[in-house]
């Protein structure tokens, strides 16, 4: 299914690793923009959220109170861009008193001990 629209060229496995909270710096927003652009090139894209990166997926963010754009809504659009693999590290959630139900999209949980294995399956790592 995934390869249906794929018309040649090299397809690589990309993982975007997000380790920073949103809003305080521009990293999280830039990462998401990069993912959306990358998705136009028919690559195999995953995102991994560890450390403070898990805060990016927190439900009910209201940065409009700071007159900033609520880009967290765009995570819900990723599926339409064929970015369907969103991984979140279980321990990072736990350390921050969060669980899966606090997140605004469906994710796949991955244990800290398995993160290296996930990275090992990738061709390219982009870190934000």
């Amino acid at each position: 299914m995934e390869d249906e629209e794929y018309a040649g060229g090299v397809q690589k496995k990309f993982i975007y690793i997000n380790r920073r909270a949103p809003h305080g710096t521009v990293y999280a927003h830039e990462a998401l923009e990069t993912v959306l652009i990358g998705a136009a090139f028919d690559q195999d894209v995953s995102m991994l959220f560890i450390d403070d990166g898990v805060y990016q997926l927190k439900k009910e963010q209201r940065p409009d109170s700071l007159e900033m754009k609520n880009f967290s809504k765009a995570f819900k659009a990723l599926e339409m861009y064929d970015v369907e693999k969103l991984f979140v590290e279980t321990e990072s959630l736990q350390e921050r008193g969060l669980n899966e139900s606090d997140l605004l999209v469906d994710v796949e949980l991955v244990a800290r001990a398995k993160v290296a294995e996930l990275i090992d399956q990738q061709d390219v790592v982009l870190s934000f």
């Binding site: 959306l36 652009i37 998705a39 136009a40 809504k73 659009a77 339409m80 861009y81």
Partner: protein, 111 residues
């Protein structure tokens, strides 16, 4: 800075003609922008514009062409979910031109 005149109001745009402030949008904006491009807006054009505005409200991004095509097909029926239909309506590129008329920023991933 560039601008357009809509109903006696001067609205700021960037150098490519996209509205600077999304909140400045009103239907007249699309009509004026279309006139500049020598394009007359039909109901079919408006359907796409309205769709884009709803999409932006929900996801805060302007969709890439591929995503727009798929979504229009889902909403209006398969026969509309193809590049040909959208390019006939918006020959300058459905995402670019229609997003502009809808008051959205230039789509992410659009070169």
């Amino acid at each position: 800075m560039s601008s357009i005149e809509v109903d006696g109001k001067t609205l700021a745009t960037d150098e490519e003609g996209y509205l600077e402030n999304l909140s400045d949008w009103e239907p007249g904006v699309a009509t004026v922008m279309a006139e500049i491009d020598d394009c007359e807006l039909t109901d079919n054009h408006w359907e796409v514009i309205n769709f884009l505005r709803e999409y932006y409200e929900e996801y805060q991004i302007a969709p890439a062409v591929r995503v727009l095509t798929k979504a229009i097909g889902k909403k209006l029926g398969k026969e509309y979910g193809n590049g040909k239909y959208l390019y006939e309506l918006y020959p300058y590129g459905p995402a670019k031109q229609a997003c502009k008329y809808a008051g959205l920023p230039k789509p992410t991933g659009c070169v």
